[in-house]
Symmetry: C2
Subunit: 295 residues, 2 copies
Amino acid sequence: MSFSDRLAEAVRRKGPLCVGIDPRWESLPKSIREAPLPHPTTARLQAVAEHTATFCVKVLELVAPFAGVVKPQSAFFELLGKWGMHAQEAVLNRAKEMGFVTILDAKRGDIASTATAYADAAFEGCKIDGETFPVWGADSLTINPYLGRDAVEPFLVAAKAAERGVFVLVRTSNAGSGLFQDLNCDGKPLYRHVAAAVAEWNKPTIGACGLGDVGAVVGATHPRELAELRAELPNVWFLVPGYGAQGGTAADVRAGFRSDGLGAVVNSSRGVTFPFHPDDPDWEAKTRSECVYRG
Amino acid sequence: MSFSDRLAEAVRRKGPLCVGIDPRWESLPKSIREAPLPHPTTARLQAVAEHTATFCVKVLELVAPFAGVVKPQSAFFELLGKWGMHAQEAVLNRAKEMGFVTILDAKRGDIASTATAYADAAFEGCKIDGETFPVWGADSLTINPYLGRDAVEPFLVAAKAAERGVFVLVRTSNAGSGLFQDLNCDGKPLYRHVAAAVAEWNKPTIGACGLGDVGAVVGATHPRELAELRAELPNVWFLVPGYGAQGGTAADVRAGFRSDGLGAVVNSSRGVTFPFHPDDPDWEAKTRSECVYRG
């Protein structure tokens, strides 16, 4: 089944909540952070990464009844170095086993065979001498369009071959996103040019659900643009960050949906995964109830 | 010493060649690829990553007399999954021990604390409970500007704190780079707006050598733009990819330099690291002689 149809199925079953997995060590529950770490410096970061994976898997279990989509943020795993990459693999594997649709939020972008290397890592795995070794095995990947056509196309080719998807950064949720995205290029802002390219790339991939495998990242913090883009790109999935901790409200994100209730997955990271104070012994119940509320 | 001054010192001592470390397995010398790999699938990718690190360290040793700057391409390590990250760490550590100035070519870009996580991974390391654990320990990192001001600034803050540098993608070397970079925004192409922002960010970081810590990536495949940008950004280091295998010539890259011979490092990846056919038993001599020619 195509990526877009699998995503539609997940949203129909469990709603449009995408749980962002952003494991900042200092925000993890005390009970996890205070599990004993071995002493030698080299082994300590490995232990931190293992505890981080434990926390992330626990979050997957807590949110599974309420969300069908999860988005691990690669930066927080990379911050834990090579051991963080062991954790990233473990979390993605567990999410897959549990039936989540996964979005690896790595915002990759490079050219030609270098882009293919990132795409193979994200999707099918590493191909060596006719054998394929699984790497991240994600269902989709966020990508950055700045490098242009031949930087995006290798991701599209790899996604197509593996029945996976991409989400292209169009209008990001941060306050300073306008520096380049809002520049007036031949009469319309840059992000609208990127949106038009996304619509083009998406067109040949539209599945049974009426949406395609080439999505767009559009922040909840720009509700007017979100509505405009929804009208302009009726067949494009939106990944909508910025809901909750970044200030986007439920009314703000409504504009991202189509009338059939599909078309958007709304990410909440800090809101769902860290509704508790790190010292709170009752963090599991709070995470669960936060999901019910969002869902 | 500031990043820019360390880079100037390396270029004065050994010239402007930057050796790109892009370890594509199928291009590695037969003698390395054919070293026995253990049989179980899980262990094979680990062995591939270890052999890859061995090749990269051998390249460092071969090019050390001729080049002071190396640029590992993160995508080819990531393609080898978590084990590739062990290899990336080993190669960066060895490069540092050998005195190279390192550019981690990862083209990262994200917002706020997520950008800080990437920056800390690249530069100072992971900070936990008052302790800092080294991660990549690179001297500089390539970054993507599309997300805007508050996506770039965390990298600048982290670079400043650690006396490291960044290279912001301005005009990339690929044929399709113009899709967005060439759009006419208020009378000038997008990449010139990015270049102007780079000049701003670079200004407070200018070191004794007259150049700063916030560089720009400008492809050798656009010699006219390279000359224009050199004139417009006299204090900005350029990382110039696209020389050699991608078609840029020695005459093309000349425009990237200042009259004092500083201002650009010229990357060659396939040209230097893979001048040989994979089956060639004499690959070490060929790599060495290619460096003499480029240097």
